[in-house]
């Protein structure tokens, strides 16, 4: 673990609470903040330990969010390095956008517990405190850590361990060929190694693919309701929620802002987001809502495009339809209890007819949403789900090494490079299963802390 670069991570649990805090620590902290933060009160210099209100813009000058930001100069900070905290809206999308912005800027995503690690390294915690923490870590021995891992993440560590073991066997074979050229070693069929590896690449792929489901299950999916004003978005929202939340009136455009509500659909935590009605308008308040809605369409896991089944399709519907092109969309025909006159044959999306008045089609819609979100993933005791980005990244890196290995094998590259790739593949897996290699030792123990704590 490098302790000298600048790291970033959410300091609050994602998807809970109205405000999220993103923390940055390291020498580039201030520079990183100043690059994208536009304080409301123009100041030449940000004073340390003072909270500023302003806008966070992305690299193209687009507003990401309205935030409060504080810069804290070393050493009076949590990590004793320069620290920046950005308090943004508690939406997962916003947090993700900020993280993405700064990762592209060149900051590194913190390993779990890395802020605490830095606090240790920089001596902010004194020996007695540190030893107390160490005792805690100590009591959670490797075996109980493994147990916790198994509980938290199903059978992930066992699966990874199995894969590691097989890869290790291949490594042993390759190393033996290298180090004992004059011994009569079994001549392993190259195709068998290829087959074995392909099998494990598939296994790794399945686990990697579970990240989306795993992430949805742990962080929740975002579903966006889109449609022209008064098409019945708020009614559907309320129906799914089972209680009145959004302000429902007959006046088009009543729902001015994004409303987020959490619920569970088919076991998947879902955040339903109601948008302001999507229509071309000159009302500045509404225009802002429309702009936001368009952005939301891009980042939602699923969009429900609502069309009034009892009315003819008009310009507004077409407008909303166009805005949804290219995204994951269900077309919902509302007001199925009335005479159906809308011609939606132009749409290429899966179509569902519902009535919020009679409840018609709602269950079917729920099932379809759950099916879509979970994809091929069928929850059972044998499945492995990953929900941490760190695990996902390690698996991708491992997979990359194995692909390289196979390419090198096919191209009859020297054995040494096969060994190189497999060593690195094992190193990456080791970052998940907590093996002690030369490097991930300290990283390993601190991984039992939450990110950003």
């Amino acid at each position: 673990m490098n302790a000298s670069d600048t790291i970033i991570a959410p300091a609050t649990a994602v998807g809970e609470g109205g405000i999220a805090v993103v923390r940055i620590s390291g020498p580039q902290s201030l520079q990183a903040l100043q690059s994208y933060f536009q304080p409301t009160a123009e100041k030449e210099k940000l004073t340390s330990h003072r909270l500023y209100h302003g806008l966070l813009n992305d690299q193209y000058g687009q507003h990401l969010d309205e935030v409060l930001a504080v810069y804290m100069a070393a050493p009076n900070t949590y990590t004793r390095d320069d620290v920046v905290e950005i308090h943004c809206h508690g939406s997962q999308q916003v947090v993700k956008a900020i993280l993405t912005l700064y990762l592209e800027y060149g900051l590194r995503l913190a390993e779990p517990g890395e802020f605490t690690y830095r606090a240790f390294i920089n001596g902010r915690l004194d020996l007695s405190q540190a030893e107390a923490v160490a005792q805690l870590i100590h009591s959670k021995s490797e075996s109980s850590r493994q147990l916790a891992l198994a509980q938290v993440e199903g059978q992930l560590s066992r699966k990874i361990f199995d894969i590691s073991k097989k890869l290790f066997d291949i490594q042993v074979l390759v190393e033996a060929w290298i180090d004992f050229p004059e011994e009569e070693l079994p001549v392993e069929d190259v195709h068998r190694i290829q087959d074995t590896l392909n099998r494990f690449i598939d296994k790794i792929q399945i686990i990697t693919d579970s990240y989306n489901s795993g992430r949805l299950l742990s962080e929740g999916a975002s579903i966006l309701l889109v449609g022209r004003p008064n098409v019945g978005k708020s009614s559907l929202l309320n129906c799914l929620l089972g209680e009145e939340r959004a302000i429902v009136t007959d006046i088009p455009g009543t729902t001015r802002d994004l409303l987020e509500e959490g619920l569970t659909i088919g076991g998947v935590p879902v955040r339903l987001v109601d948008t302001a009605g999507l229509r071309q308008s000159s009302d500045p308040v509404e225009m802002e809502g429309v702009r936001r809605a368009k952005e939301k369409i891009m980042s939602a896991d699923l969009v429900l495009l609502l069309v009034d089944g009892s009315a003819l399709v008009n310009e507004q519907d077409r407008y909303a339809y166009e805005a949804c092109q290219g995204e994951a969309v269900f077309l919902i025909r509302t007001k199925a209890d009335l005479d159906q006159v809308a011609d939606t044959s132009f749409a290429v999306f899966p179509e569902y007819a519902i009535s919020t008045k009679t409840g018609y089609g709602l269950n079917q819609l729920r099932l379809a949403i759950a099916d879509y979100l979970l994809g091929d993933y069928l929850p059972n005791s044998e499945s492995v789900l990953i929900s941490e980005k760190r695990h996902h990244d390690s698996l991708i890196a491992c997979r990359h090494n194995l692909d390289n290995f196979l390419t090198a094998l096919k191209a009859e590259q020297p054995l040494e490079f096969l060994a190189f790739e497999i060593r690195e593949a094992l190193y990456h897996l080791g970052q998940i299963s907590g093996q002690t290699t030369t490097d991930d030792i300290l990283t390993g123990i601190f991984s039992q802390f939450c990110i950003g704590k």
């Binding site: 050229p181 002690t436 123990i445």
Partner: protein, 622 residues
């Protein structure tokens, strides 16, 4: 006791492969040096196979040479068959190996030692050390003489309480026909050292004229030989052949029928033998499904009447040895000239050493070679060189030399020795190195010669050779970048089979293609023809595998971070209350020099390392 009178800077005990390098290094660094050996006729003796190099070992020899040691020059001068192994398996795992003329190897090394001005070679058996104020102050010999010195390097090989086993008979001896050294290991125990016992073995030597070579597979040397030393330009010597023979079911039956007569299997031997070099009876018992084992029959010298059958070490009685050899094709009439035997000897647990090879218990005392639980001439020589360098640096009151795991196999070996308890004789393999791609034979000089120069071991000639190679590599790189092949160059494109070329391409980019070797570019860029083969090889490797090398360097950068956090020598590990007793004891016994090293000690948990890290921070802050 009488004192010899003359005061030495450094005394080296034992004139094997470790001792010779240690003594030469010390003397060449300007320290008056005494090399004491039990027998003046067995300097640099090859007790087992008559060969130098191989995987990991060839790498060590190149490193010894780059630092200014003697082994590479000695084998270049006395080798009778040269081969490079693994030529197709990658640049870093290519390794040089040579058969030596055993007598010539020993004779030449003795001459070099004798010719060294500040070096005295004397016969004597050391039975104890002299100490003064907690430091080593010299040695005492069985003959009643005290020799004083400021530093002592012990390289005792298999001699300390050596016990030779042939069948169920055993007798005291340091090597066949030579007495053991009694008393010294007891004396070391008296100074508080933990002394253990290891075992190794050697096969019988066969009479060359009793072998039917027409029935064996011939194994010639390489057509063009590549020297070990960066100073040797070429080796123009008639090479000799080795031969390959095989055991068969009958051989194995004879061995199985006589296991009760093997010292190893009868439970007579307490020392632990190496897994990677099992005796023939071990192989037969452990791999019953294998119905044949191969053996290389290697000549012991150009004019020697003896042949060495590799992989056939044993502790079976001589009559059984003869019986099983004669069961093999081509060896039906074979005569044994010396029987094979197993030997047990004392070693001193190397976790009691600093990474400089100085003992922690007795400042000024260094250990190198088999006394540290290693096996192999090259491993011994590399340690001898490092111990000799540090003994001399110590006398000059200069900072000690530590070689990192990312700098050389010497560093990998010493780090392994001082952090891992010895479970079997330690031998070098390339897989022991995490940063193998950087630790190649071809670049050993680029890694270590500047270090050798700083210490004062690198001669003017070596320095010039090194710099010339460096310059050629830099110039060569420039040439390859500047020279382009354009689509108009149809003939060239055809002959290199480049296929369709849309834009011009530099020779450097061409060289990155797996099928293009640097040899094929020599005609295109004729300036390269004046460069040495060594420079060209390294140039090729550094360009062709640049991507991998870069990735390896990133790994090294991660490794370096913990390696550079030093642990002060006087630290009291028992003060760290939150560590388990077991971990505290482990740390206290190994006494790691860096945080990185502490992490490599088995049983030191990540949590323990965190506590240690914080403790170090606090110490640093005061």
């Amino acid at each position: 006791m009488s004192s010899y009178g003359k005061n030495y800077d450094v005394i080296v005990v034992g004139a094997g492969h470790a001792g010779c390098e240690a003594a030469l290094a010390s003397a060449r660094m300007g320290c008056s040096t005494l090399l004491l050996t039990m027998g003046l006729d067995t300097v640099a003796q090859m007790s087992c196979n008559p060969a130098i190099g191989g995987l990991g070992k060839g790498h060590l020899v190149h490193e010894i040479d780059a630092l200014g040691g003697e082994m590479g020059l000695n084998i270049d001068a006395t080798g009778i068959q040269f081969r490079r192994l693994n030529m197709k398996k990658g640049p870093a795992v290519r390794a040089a190996r040579a058969q030596a003329d055993r007598m010539a190897y020993s004779a030449r090394m003795k001459q070099v030692v004798e010719a060294e001005l500040l070096l005295d070679l004397k016969q004597g058996v050391v039975i104890d050390l002299l100490t003064e104020g907690g430091r080593v102050a010299g040695v005492r010999t069985r003959e009643g003489l005290d020799f004083n010195a400021r530093a002592v390097v012990l390289t005792t090989g298999t001699f300390m309480r050596g016990l030779i086993h042939i069948g169920l008979h055993n007798y005291s001896g340091g090597r066949a026909g030579e007495p053991a050294s009694e008393g010294l290991s007891d004396a070391l125990r008296g100074y508080g050292f933990i002394v253990g016992r290891l075992k190794t073995g050697t096969p019988a030597r066969l009479a060359a004229r009793s072998i039917d070579y027409s029935r064996l597979e011939r194994q010639p040397g390489d057509e063009s030989t590549k020297p070990f030393s960066f100073l040797t330009e070429r080796i123009d010597r008639q090479q000799v052949d080795c031969y390959i023979a095989h055991t068969n079911e009958r051989t194995h039956q004879i061995i199985r029928d006589n296991l009760d007569k093997s010292a190893l299997f009868a439970g007579v031997i307490e020392g632990i033998g190496p897994r990677y070099c099992p005796s023939i009876e071990d192989k037969v018992v452990r791999f019953p499904e294998k119905n044949s084992h191969q053996t290389f029959i290697e000549p012991e010298g150009r004019n020697s009447a003896e042949m060495y059958p590799s992989g056939m070490s044993t502790s079976l009685p001589p009559e059984v040895q003869l019986q099983y050899f004669r069961s093999m094709v081509g060896l039906e009439q074979v005569e044994i000239m010396r029987p094979g035997y197993a030997i047990e000897y004392d070693f001193v647990e190397p976790t009691q050493l600093k990474p400089t090879l100085e003992t922690r218990a007795l400042p000024g005392l260094y250990h190198a070679g088999q006394i540290n639980g290693t096996s192999g001439y090259e491993e011994a020589a590399a340690q001898g060189l490092l111990a000799g360098i540090n003994a001399a640096l110590g006398c000059r009151e200069q900072e000690q030399l530590v070689i990192g795991r990312d700098q050389g196999y010497i560093g990998v070996m010493v780090d392994d020795l001082v952090t891992q308890p010895t479970l079997e004789p330690y031998r070098m393999f390339t897989s022991r190195s995490e940063y193998r791609l950087l630790l190649r034979e071809d670049n050993a000089d680029q890694r270590l010669t500047e270090l050798g120069r700083m210490i004062g071991l690198v001669s003017e000639r070596r320095w010039q050779t090194y710099q010339q190679k460096r310059e050629q590599i830099a110039a060569g790189r420039h040439l390859l970048q500047e020279n382009m092949i354009t689509p108009a160059n149809k003939e060239l494109i055809e002959s290199l089979r480049l296929g369709e070329l849309r834009n011009g391409v530099s020779l450097e980019a061409l060289l990155r293609r797996p099928e293009i070797s640097i040899d094929r570019l020599l005609d295109i860029c004729t300036e390269l023809q004046k460069f040495s083969a060594q420079a060209l090889e390294q140039l090729e490797v550094s360009i062709k595998y640049e991507g991998y090398i870069k990735r390896q360097m990133e790994q090294v950068a991660r490794f370096r971070e913990y390696e550079e956090i030093a642990i002060p020598e006087g630290i009291d590990f028992f003060q760290l209350q939150s560590l388990s007793t077991e971990v505290r004891e482990k740390l206290a016994s190994v006494r790691p020099a860096t945080l990185g090293q502490a992490g490599r000690i088995q049983g030191v948990t990540p949590a323990a390392l965190a506590v240690l890290h914080i403790h170090l921070r606090k110490l640093q802050r005061g």
